[in-house]
C-alpha cells in the first residue's frame, strides 16, 4: 500500500512540475541553489567576546598593579646634581663657589653682560612690566614684538620673520606646520633633538642621510624619484623637505649648502635651515651660513634660529618669504597656543641686533679666536677636537674610547671637574641617551666667547 501511495505521489509531483508556472520553478531553483551554497560555504566565526561577570571584573581591577610613576633615580646619577651658578653667567662665572672663566655658555658675541642690553631691557620693563599675559592673538602682541620681527627680517634680508617665546619650540613648531602625514622629510643624522621632536610631531616619513654626506642624500632622493614615477598621482601631492642645520650642535661642522641648493632644484625639495649656532657667527655680517657661502637667501625656504646664543636673549625666530612664514601665524603650535615673549627679552634682542649691525668687525674677531684656540688644542694627548676650525662651539672627544659609554662619561667628567678646580668652566655635552636616534659619542662642549683675552690662557 505504501509504495503505491508513494508512486502515486511521485507521479502527481512530476505532473505538478510540468504544470507549474515558470516563475514558480525558477524561484524554487534559486532557493535550492542557495541552500546548496550555504551548505558548502565556510562558517563565519565571530571573535569570542569574553563576557566577564561583574565579580571577575572587580577581581581584575583589584589585582592590577601599575608600574611606579617614575623609575627610581640613583643618587649618583651624573645629571642629578646640577652645578649651581651664583651671580650672572657671564664671562667670569662662579660655579659651585669657584670662580672660573666661562667656556661653557653659548655666549658667542659676549653680549650677556653688555650694559646696553641691560639698559634696553630695563626701559622695556619700566614701560610694559614683565609678562605679556596672553598669546599673540589675544592682546599679547606688543609693539616691541612687531619691531623685533621687522628688524630680524631686515637684518636677514627676507620678507618676514616670526618670533617664538622659546628656542626649542621654534623649529619644533615650524616643521609640523608645513610637513604633515604622508610628506617626506630628508634629514641629517646629526640633527639636534628639537628637530627630531618637530619631525615626530609632524608624523611624516623621515629619511635619514649620513652626516654631511651629499652622495647619500642624492641616493635617497633618486630612490624617491623612482618611487614617484611609479605613482605619479601620489607624487603630485607629496611635499618634500630637506632639514639641515647651518652649524651642527652635535658635531660642530658646517653643512654644505651650495650642493644642497643644487639638489633642491634638481629634485624639487624645499630646504629648512636651522641656524641656531650659525646665526651671528658665520658670514661677514653675521647673517649665517647663507652669507658664509654667498647664497641668495630666497633659495632657502625657511630659516629658523634661536635667539639664545649670539643674541644673548631668550626665544627664537623663523624668517623667509611671507608666503612661507605667514602660515605659521595660524598653524604654529608654539606661536598660537602659548604666551608671547616677554617684552624685556624682545627689547634686549633688538639692542643686540643693533650692536651686531654697528660692529660688523666682531665676527671676524670671533673667527680669528676660534682658529687660534682650535690650533692650540690640537696637541692635547688623548683628546681630539671635533668641529670646524671657525666654529665657536666644538667638542673634545676621547681619542680612544674605553669601550663603555659610562666609563667614557666618568673620565670626561673627571677632566671637567679638574678644569673647574683650576678656574676653567667646562661642561659635558648632555644628551637623553634613550631618546636620541643617533647618540653622539660623549664629549666636552667648548663654547668660545668674543671676550676671551689671550693673557688668560
Amino acid at each position: 500500500m505504501a509504495t503505491v501511495a508513494e508512486q502515486w505521489v511521485l507521479v502527481e509531483m512530476v505532473q505538478a512540475l510540468y504544470e507549474a508556472p515558470a516563475y514558480h520553478l525558477i524561484l524554487e531553483g534559486i532557493l535550492i541553489l542557495w541552500i546548496i551554497r550555504l551548505l558548502f560555504s565556510k562558517t563565519y566565526k565571530l571573535q569570542e567576546r569574553s563576557d566577564l561577570t561583574v565579580k571577575e571584573k572587580e577581581e581584575l581591577i583589584e589585582e592590577w598593579q601599575p608600574e611606579p610613576l617614575v623609575p627610581p633615580v640613583s643618587k649618583d646619577h651624573p645629571a642629578l646634581n646640577y652645578n649651581i651658578v651664583s651671580g650672572p653667567p657671564s664671562h667670569n662665572i662662579v660655579v659651585n663657589g669657584k670662580e672660573c672663566i666661562n667656556f661653557a655658555s653659548f655666549n658667542f658675541l659676549g653680549l650677556l653682560d653688555n650694559p646696553r642690553l641691560k639698559a634696553a631691557a630695563l626701559a622695556s620693563l619700566k614701560k610694559c612690566g614683565v609678562g605679556t599675559c596672553g598669546p599673540r592673538g589675544f592682546y599679547g602682541t606688543f609693539d616691541v614684538h612687531l619691531d623685533l620681527e621687522d628688524r630680524l627680517a631686515k637684518f636677514m634680508k627676507t620678507e618676514e620673520a616670526i618670533i617664538y617665546s622659546y628656542g626649542f619650540a621654534t623649529i619644533a613648531s615650524a616643521i609640523p606646520a608645513y610637513s604633515k602625514r604622508g610628506d617626506i622629510v630628508f634629514v641629517d643624522k646629526a640633527a639636534c633633538f628639537a628637530i627630531q621632536k618637530g619631525l615626530q610631531a609632524s608624523r611624516s616619513d623621515i629619511k635619514l642621510f649620513n652626516h654631511n654626506d651629499m652622495d647619500d642624500l642624492q641616493r635617497l632622493l633618486k630612490e624617491q624619484e623612482i618611487e614617484d614615477q611609479k605613482n605619479p598621482r601620489k607624487a603630485r601631492v607629496t611635499r618634500r623637505f630637506i632639514v639641515v642645520e647651518g652649524l651642527y650642535m652635535n658635531t660642530g661642522t658646517i653643512c654644505p649648502l651650495p650642493e644642497l641648493v643644487k639638489l633642491k632644484y634638481r629634485y624639487k625639495a624645499r630646504i629648512f635651515l636651522e641656524e641656531s649656532l650659525s646665526f651671528g657667527v658665520l658670514g661677514e655680517h653675521g647673517r649665517g651660513v647663507t652669507e658664509h657661502f654667498g647664497i641668495d637667501i630666497d633659495d632657502i625656504d625657511l630659516i629658523s634660529a634661536n635667539m639664545e646664543n649670539s643674541l644673548a636673549s631668550i626665544g627664537g625666530f623663523c624668517c623667509g618669504r611671507s608666503f612661507v612664514i605667514d602660515h605659521q601665524r595660524l598653524s604654529g603650535q608654539g606661536y598660537c597656543f602659548s604666551a608671547s615673549l616677554p617684552p624685556l627679552l624682545a627689547a634686549a634682542a633688538i639692542e643686540a641686533l643693533n650692536i651686531m649691525e654697528e660692529n660688523p668687525g666682531i665676527f671676524a674677531v670671533l673667527k680669528e679666536k676660534c682658529k687660534r684656540i682650535h690650533k692650540a688644542l690640537q696637541g692635547i694627548s688623548g683628546l681630539k677636537v671635533v668641529g670646524e676650525s671657525i666654529s665657536p662651539a666644538f667638542h673634545l672627544q676621547l681619542e680612544e674610547s674605553t669601550g663603555c659609554r659610562e666609563r667614557d662619561v666618568k673620565l670626561l667628567q673627571e677632566i671637567v671637574t679638574q678644569c673647574m678646580d683650576r678656574g676653567i668652566a667646562l661642561t659635558l655635552a648632555r644628551y637623553l641617551e634613550k631618546e636620541e636616534k643617533y647618540l653622539p659619542p660623549p664629549s666636552i662642549v667648548q663654547d668660545l666667547q668674543n671676550k676671551i683675552k689671550w693673557w688668560q690662557w
Binding site: 571584573k57 581584575l60 592590577w64 601599575p66 610613576l69 627610581p72 633615580v73 645629571a79 642629578l80 652645578n83 649651581i84 651658578v85 651671580g87 650672572p88 660655579v95 666661562n102 661653557a104 655658555s105 655666549n107 650677556l112 641691560k118 630695563l122 620693563l125 619700566k126 614701560k127 610694559c128 612690566g129 614683565v130 609678562g131 599675559c133 596672553g134 592682546y139 599679547g140 602682541t141 609693539d143 622659546y166 628656542g167 626649542f168 619644533a172 610631531a201 608624523r203 601631492v237 624639487k268 624645499r270 634661536n306 639664545e308 644673548a312 631668550i314 612661507v324 603650535q333 608654539g334 598660537c336 597656543f337 615673549l341 616677554p342 624685556l344 627679552l345 648632555r430 644628551y431 637623553l432
Partner: protein, 561 residues
C-alpha cells in the same frame, strides 16, 4: 538644539532637593526652575555628597542652544561658504585681485606647500573679521591697556598703523587674574634689580651651566607654595607639557585625556607614544567606564595589562570656564590606581581661599595629585611653567626631562618676578596685598557673572571661574561684538571655530583683581548696550546638566609606530 540625555543609567527625578545617582559616583548638577526668568535666587543648586566629597556647592551649567539660533547659525555659515566659493572662483579667474602671497616663480613646479581647501576657512571667513585678533598693544597689559590703532584699506588683507593709540581701553582679554601685570611696584623693582645684576639671557641649559641660584630659590618656593615635596620650573608653559609628558609615559601606557584639553597636553600625549583615549568633558561616568574597560580588557590586541594609566585634566578649562570635578577624579584615581596629571594653567592663583589653585578650592590634599603642573603666565605676570610632586618624580624629571637637557633655562628677571609675586600671594612679604587680591578677584567674578546672567546672556561655566564665556553663536556676531566693544573702549576676546565647536562661537572675558567695581560697571553697561544692539540675550534660564551636552562617541586613537 534639543539634546538627548546620554550616559545616565537612572532616570532623573524632577523634584526639588533630590539626589541624583549616576552609576557609581554621584554628580552635582544645576537645575533651574522652568518658567521664571528672575534672578539667580530662583536657581536651585543641588550637591550630592558621596562621603562628603564636595565641601561646597559645585555650580556649573551650560545652557542649551536655542533651536532657532542654531538654525540661523548654520544658515549663516552656509551663506559664507557659498560666498567663499564664489570669491575663490573670481580670484582663480583673475576677476578679483588676489591679495595673498604666492610661491616664487622658480619654485612653481614644486609640489604646492599648502592645499587649497586647507586654507578655505582662513581665506574666506577668518580674513573678514581678522581685525579682532592680534591687536597690538603698547602698554602694560593691566586692567587698562593702550591699543595701537590700525586700519585696513583692502578688507583686512593688510594693516597700516595710523600712529594713533587708543588709550585706556578696559582690558577684558588678558590673563591677569591677580593683577600682577604692572610696571610699578615691588615686583617690578625686584625684577629690575636682578636684571641689573644678572643680565637678561642665560645661554645654557639647566644641566650644563645654566642652573642659577635664582632657579633653585624659585623651585623651593614653588614647592612650598603648592604644598608638595619638590618642584621644577621651565621657561615656557606650553613646552612644560609637551616635553614632560613624553618623559613620564611611553608606549604601553594609557592616557585618558579630557575632550577639551589644551593643545599642549594633546601634543605632549601624542609625542609620548602612549595610547590616548578621550572621555567626555568633565564627565565622571565616561572616565570611569574608560578606566574599567582599560584595566579589565588591557591593551587592544595583545590583551597585556597596561603599564600605567595617566589621567590628564585641567584645573579651569579656558574656553568653557568649567572647573574640573577634582574630588571625584581623585576618588576614581585612588580606586583604579591611576596617576593624575593636573594642568593648573588658569586656576593657580585664581581659585581657592589662599590662591593655591583648584586643590585649595576643593579643600583637598595636594599629595593626592601625582603631578601638579601650572604656568606662571596668568596669575604671576611672568612666563614659564612648573611641575610639582614627590621628590622621586622631580629627581627623575631633573635627569630625564627634555627641557632640562636641551632647552635654555628661564631668564633671571622673569624668575625674580615670579618669586616676588608668589611671596606676595603667600603673604611672606609682610603685607596683606595677596589676600586682598584673591578676595577681590572672587568678588569680581561673582558680581560679573551674576549681572551678566541677569541681563539675559547665555554664560557657560562654573560660578567661581574667572573665565566667563558669553555665547554669540552666529559668525557675523563674532566680528560685530569685537568691533562694537572696541568702539566703546572695551577690549574683549572673541573666539570661533576651530578653537570652539562650529556653532558655539563666544566672547570670553577674563576677570582680574585689578578691575575695580567702576570698571566692571562700565563694562557691563556697554555689554548690555551691545547685547541689545546685536540681539545676544538668548537665555531662557534653562540649564542642562553637564552630562547631556552633545558629543560624538568616545573616540579611540591608536598610536602609530
Amino acid at each position: 538644539m534639543r539634546t538627548e540625555p546620554g550616559g545616565c543609567c537612572c532616570r532623573r527625578p524632577v523634584r526639588a532637593n533630590d539626589c541624583v545617582a549616576n552609576g557609581e559616583v554621584r554628580n552635582g548638577y544645576v537645575r533651574s526652575s522652568a518658567a521664571t526668568a528672575a534672578a539667580a535666587a530662583s536657581q536651585i543648586h543641588h550637591v550630592t555628597q558621596n562621603g562628603g566629597l564636595y565641601k561646597r556647592p559645585f555650580n556649573e551649567g551650560f545652557e542649551e542652544t536655542p533651536m532657532l539660533v542654531a538654525v540661523l547659525t548654520y544658515v549663516g555659515y552656509g551663506v559664507l561658504t557659498l560666498f567663499g566659493y564664489l570669491r575663490d572662483f573670481l580670484r582663480h579667474w583673475r576677476i578679483e585681485k588676489c591679495h595673498h602671497a604666492t610661491e616664487r616663480e622658480e619654485q612653481k613646479d614644486f609640489v604646492s606647500l599648502y592645499q587649497d581647501f586647507e586654507n578655505f576657512y582662513t581665506r574666506n571667513l577668518y580674513m573678514r573679521i581678522r581685525d579682532n585678533w592680534n591687536r597690538p598693544i603698547c602698554s602694560v597689559p593691566g586692567a587698562r591697556v593702550d591699543i595701537m590703532e590700525r586700519q585696513s584699506h583692502d578688507y583686512n588683507w593688510s594693516f597700516k598703523y595710523t600712529g594713533n593709540v587708543i588709550k585706556d581701553v578696559i582690558n577684558m582679554g588678558s590673563y591677569n587674574y591677580l593683577g600682577f601685570a604692572r610696571n610699578t611696584g615691588p615686583c617690578q623693582e625686584a625684577a629690575a634689580k636682578v636684571l641689573e645684576e644678572y643680565g637678561v639671557g642665560v645661554c645654557s641649559t639647566r644641566q650644563e651651566i645654566g642652573n642659577l641660584d635664582k632657579h633653585e630659590e624659585l623651585e623651593k618656593l614653588v614647592a612650598s607654595f603648592l604644598g608638595v615635596e619638590a618642584a621644577m620650573t621651565y621657561g615656557m608653559g606650553f613646552a612644560t607639557n609637551s616635553m614632560n609628558i613624553p618623559a613620564l609615559v611611553s608606549k604601553g601606557c594609557l592616557i585618558l585625556s579630557d575632550e577639551l584639553n589644551h593643545a599642549s597636553l594633546v601634543l605632549g600625549a601624542r609625542l609620548s607614544g602612549a595610547t590616548i583615549r578621550v572621555f567626555k568633558h568633565n564627565n565622571m561616568q565616561s572616565l570611569e567606564k574608560l578606566l574599567k574597560d582599560a584595566i579589565v580588557y588591557g591593551q587592544p590586541r595583545t590583551r597585556r595589562p597596561w603599564k600605567k594609566i595617566l589621567i590628564l585634566v585641567e584645573g579651569i578649562y579656558s574656553m568653557e570656564g568649567s572647573i574640573v570635578r577634582l574630588p571625584e577624579v581623585i576618588a576614581l584615581k585612588k580606586k583604579y590606581k591611576a596617576y593624575l596629571y593636573l594642568d593648573e594653567a588658569h586656576s593657580i592663583g585664581a581659585l581657592g581661599p589662599t590662591g593655591r589653585g583648584v586643590v585649595d578650592y576643593f579643600g583637598l590634599d595636594p599629595e593626592d595629585v601625582d603631578i601638579m603642573m601650572g604656568t606662571f603666565t596668568k596669575s604671576f605676570g611672568a612666563s614659564g611653567g612648573y611641575i610639582g610632586g614627590k621628590k622621586e618624580l622631580i629627581d627623575y624629571l631633573r635627569t630625564h626631562s627634555h627641557s632640562a637637557v636641551y632647552a635654555t633655562s628661564p631668564s633671571p628677571p622673569v624668575v625674580e618676578q615670579i618669586v616676588t609675586s608668589m611671596k606676595c600671594i603667600m603673604g611672606q612679604d609682610g603685607t596683606t596685598l595677596g589676600k586682598e587680591c584673591i578676595q577681590q578677584l572672587a568678588e569680581n567674578v561673582r558680581y560679573f557673572r551674576r549681572r551678566l546672567k541677569n541681563m539675559g546672556f547665555i554664560i557657560y561655566g562654573n560660578e567661581d571661574s574667572p573665565v566667563v564665556p558669553l555665547m554669540l553663536y552666529m559668525p557675523a556676531k563674532i566680528g560685530a561684538f569685537g568691533r562694537e566693544m572696541l568702539k566703546r573702549n572695551i577690549g574683549v576676546v572673541v573666539v570661533g571655530f576651530p578653537a570652539t565647536p562650529i556653532i558655539e562661537s563666544r566672547a570670553r572675558f577674563c576677570l582680574s583683581a585689578a578691575h575695580t567695581k567702576e570698571m566692571l560697571d562700565t563694562a557691563l553697561k556697554e555689554i548690555d548696550e551691545v547685547g541689545d544692539l546685536l540681539h545676544l540675550k538668548y537665555s531662557r534660564h534653562r540649564s542642562v546638566p553637564l552630562l547631556d551636552r552633545p558629543f560624538d562617541e568616545t573616540t579611540y586613537e591608536e598610536t602609530e609606530d
